[in-house]
Symmetry: C2
Subunit: 397 residues, 2 copies
């Protein structure tokens, strides 16, 4: 059993604040400042360039990649860290289209995070071969997987509502019509049990600064199925993905497996912080995390619906169909979220009218849910968001 | 006049070590650990997501970009930070080729850093329109700028020998035949005065972890001339380069100017470290830096040639044609560099036979040159690299 009191104690959580925004930026692991300071003063300051070997900087993207592999059901050695999620989307999509040269359709949904769609738009323009980005409503995605589709590119959990796609089912459907899949795990890695290998996913990408708590600007990750990792030809063919980066050959020769998806120099300082976040994950079992997540979000929904009838649930009511977040619709959502934040509950507003709250079981407990509900209820019932005499506090007390 | 005693005092330089490898990884600014600790504990730890606005994380890539603009002669507002140099090369090259749709030749030289060539190879394959990467010897580059060339893509200083290309002259020649230029400043930003605007460069890219001392994994930068920045259509069209990233539109709409070259979430922790490195640059005048660089490298060449006749100068003898590094050829270069490092002089070996030494005037002085020469001389004259009885020290004392 995961000891969630112990995991919560590993994070810096500002006094008085209920932080329900770990689905945007996870909190600081208490161990991060000391680890980063050590990295800076010893590894960089004293050891300088020798740290590329002696401190393991060069292999870190694969070493940490393996730790993330364990959280998303990937085969060891098939996850590489680096760059940003946008870049990883581009790499995965280019590789996938390259594997389906006779097809022209990229299928996605309107619930996908916009940067995934933007990167697809940029790639399509670059390829200039008449590819189509076909965007359908999330609920229509399964029917839209037809045999002209090259790649199904989806974010597993909708960033606004938390609605989950069924990775196993949609991947099977895609494969049945000869399409490949790219799964964006931004809102599921560290939030729900993910099994990319078990689902036969072809590619998966994600970020490490949300539920994984790696810090602002933490590197992204990419998974390539062993079925494809030796055959894909990287479009972003950088020297860190070269078979022998220090041979300084003039011609690109891809490294073995997913390591070819590395591009440039890894962000070593960011990785030191991420390392401490992954240490907390070593204390957690994802099945426990998921059970607690459903319990907390169910509780939140029940209590908010009882106390705040003016809010309309925008997330799936069935916990198994929902990521680790809950969203409510409210016409004056933007103003309401400002007041909720001022009352010490940190959530996010998402246009046009969503109040979004993330529940990260590693550091959110039932007491936090009760406190959050109490504060949100005060904002909503007293209409604090609409009272000109209400002074928004500048700091959380 | 720049006070180089003061700038040297700003860096952590391991006792007993002469660090002549700042052209690979600059040393730790003493202010970096405290600044990063503050960023971690206060900005991330306490302020959490509010720091995107309140701590300026969101605008940091442009704010720090402006500080780099001052070091490379760029117009304010026309440099953006982010990603890695490889990614920035890809972006610049794709944009440049897009501006010359009727041409098919990318011209570069065999002295370019391999990743620039690799990224070009990947882009050419993606475009699949018969582009040619034409690689000539560095000394042949000017004659090779012909009217079939779309883009001249060069690194200003050769990473092995430090040989400089004439940016103004080659850019003029390129423009005369209707070609564009991309200048990789990896080995010149912070090493010599660079004037991208004065030279009419079209694009420039560079890294910040060498002479700029931003730390391992520090973000890259990209400059786009105001002539092009409003017309280019980014191929890596990520949400941070969107006109309104938080509108979450489904269609990409490029931000104003060079900010459209931003892609994903910036590496905030890396930027905090880089900030302290740029503070040191505020104390320096690039003309002084260049004068001192030439003086130090001239001195090093003179003394080494006098003491070590077995070494053959591989860098230009004329200081004005040389970056801030000196390389010598030696048949047993790899073994020799191991022994030199063991003696406390940190340089680099570059295949097949180069001993490479970087001189960063911000923290290297004449005493360092004398010490380095003395130690190198001992290695060479006593053939320490070839003595099985010579025990390489594990730590520098």
């Amino acid at each position: 059993m995961t000891d969630f009191t112990a995991t919560k104690a590993m994070f810096n959580l500002p006094v008085g604040m209920v932080y329900l925004d770990g689905n945007s930026l996870g909190p600081l692991p208490k161990a991060a400042p000391a680890r980063v300071a050590d990295m800076l003063t010893k590894e960089w300051g004293e050891m300088l360039i020798t740290s590329w070997n002696l401190s393991g900087w060069m292999v870190q993207p694969m070493v940490l990649g393996d730790r993330i592999a364990g959280l998303i059901g990937a085969e060891p050695g098939h996850v590489a860290l680096g760059d940003t999620l946008s870049i990883k989307v581009y790499q995965a999509l280019a590789a996938a289209l390259d594997l389906r040269p006779d097809r022209r359709v990229i299928l996605s949904d309107s619930g996908n995070f916009p940067t995934d769609l933007y990167m697809a738009q940029g790639l399509i323009r670059t390829l200039d071969k008449g590819h189509e980005l076909r965007v359908v409503a999330p609920e229509d995605i399964k029917d839209a997987i037809t045999d002209d589709v090259a790649v199904v590119m989806l974010t597993e959990a909708d960033y606004r509502t938390g609605r989950l796609h069924d990775m196993a089912d949609l991947t099977t459907k895609a494969h049945n019509v000869g399409a490949l899949t790219i799964w964006d795990l931004a809102h599921t890695a560290g939030a729900i049990p993910v099994d990319v290998a078990g689902c036969n996913a072809d590619f998966a990408v994600g970020c490490t600064y949300k539920y994984l708590n790696g810090g602002p600007g933490a590197p992204a990750f990419i998974y390539v199925s062993p079925r494809h990792s030796e055959t894909i030809n990287p479009v972003l063919s950088g020297w860190q993905g070269h078979e022998s980066p220090f041979a300084f050959d003039l011609a690109y020769d891809p490294a073995v497996g997913v390591e070819r998806m590395r591009v440039g120099t890894p962000s070593v300082i960011q990785m030191a912080a991420l390392e401490t976040a992954l240490d907390v994950w070593d204390m957690a079992d994802m099945t426990d995390v998921r059970a607690r997540s459903i319990k907390l979000t169910d509780l939140f929904i029940t209590e908010i619906e009882a106390a705040c009838p003016m809010l309309t649930l925008a997330s799936p009511r069935d916990g198994t169909k929902r990521g680790s977040q809950v969203s409510f619709q409210f016409k004056h959502g933007y103003a309401a979220m400002q007041a909720i934040i001022a009352e010490g509950v940190i959530g996010d507003f998402r246009a046009p009218d969503l109040l979004r709250f993330g529940f990260a079981p590693l550091y959110i407990d039932e007491t936090d849910v009760h406190t959050a509900v109490k504060r949100i209820t005060r904002v909503m019932t007293e209409k604090l968001w609409d009272r000109p005499d209400y002074k928004i506090r500048k700091t959380v007390t």
